[in-house]
């Protein structure tokens, strides 16, 4: 049976530099690797964690018409003016094929490009936790 292990989570933020500085100062985290642009999702991201262990990726949209920007806009409220917060949970899986088949066989939706080594479980299948599943090496 395929199992999941926790890998990292992503947090959508308004100001990437400010968020990096806060995570360094308040939580003692360090930047791991370089800031990187994700062309598919059209966002910039910086991995943060302790030593070489990534805890989370801070991500910020590169343009207004991107999926991350839309999600942030939808959750804006007076308390959270930029709609910041959790975006997705990423997990490693020892058998991505079997895991996706199990989700679909039990009424869940999975988005996956053919032969891709990662897949997204649709939020309606996971009580609205956006899950990315990555084939473990």
């Amino acid at each position: 049976m395929p199992e999941l292990t926790f890998r990292y989570y992503t947090v959508a933020v308004h100001d990437l530099d400010a968020a990096i500085a806060d995570h360094e100062a308040r939580f003692g985290m360090q930047q791991i690797g370089e800031r990187a642009h994700n062309a598919t999702g059209n966002f910039d991201g910086q991995s943060m964690g302790y030593g070489d262990k990534v805890m989370l990726r801070l991500i910020t949209p590169s343009a207004p018409d991107t999926p991350i920007a839309k999600l942030m806009l939808e959750r804006v409220n007076p308390f959270n003016p930029h709609g910041e917060g959790m975006y997705l949970m990423a997990y490693d899986c020892d058998d991505l094929e079997a895991f996706c088949a199990q989700v679909i066989a039990n009424g869940g939706r999975v988005n996956r490009a053919p032969n891709s080594t990662s897949a997204w479980v649709h939020p309606t299948a996971s009580n609205f936790v956006l899950m990315e599943i990555i084939q473990a090496k």
């Binding site: 939580f27 308390f79 910041e84 917060g85 949970m89 039990n106 299948a125 009580n127």
Partner: protein, 141 residues
């Protein structure tokens, strides 16, 4: 330096039995213990994971005045009619006092009952991830 490791996260759900069944069938997780009531947070929960490895606690409000019920109501939308989803991430640290002191020294807000071995970091201090931090090895799990 007080670092963090992830212990589990909580997922707020509308129908606990249905959510447990979905997590069992779709994700192959097992119930790691019985359904329990958290009287302070006013929610019922069941821990889910693999073997002895806890992944998430599925939680559901036990009364309408539960803080969980309020969060769910606030985020209900057309696509998510019950406002389900992530509630908080719970982390362990070796030194809860040092961790909280550093958050506060750098402009963050911490909610903590004096002397307790757990604390909540205010969402405005975390870019709106609700964090619970627990001293490793304490009974507040």
């Amino acid at each position: 330096m007080a670092t963090l490791t992830i212990h589990h996260y909580n997922t707020a759900v509308h129908d606990l039995d249905a959510a447990v069944a979905d997590y069992e069938s779709r994700f192959g997780m097992e119930q790691l213990g019985p359904r329990q009531l958290n009287p302070v947070g006013k929610f019922d929960y069941i821990s889910m994971g693999y073997g002895d490895s806890l992944i998430t606690r599925l939680i559901t409000p036990s009364s309408e005045d539960s803080p969980i019920a309020k969060v769910m109501k606030d985020r209900a939308s057309t696509s998510n009619p019950h406002g389900e989803g992530m509630y908080l991430i719970c982390y362990e640290t070796d030194d809860i006092d040092a961790f909280c002191a550093r958050v506060e020294a750098n402009g963050g807000r911490v909610n903590r009952v004096p002397g307790r071995s757990n604390a909540w970091i205010h969402p405005t201090s975390t870019h709106f991830v609700f964090m619970e931090v627990v001293e490793r090895g304490s009974s507040h799990m």
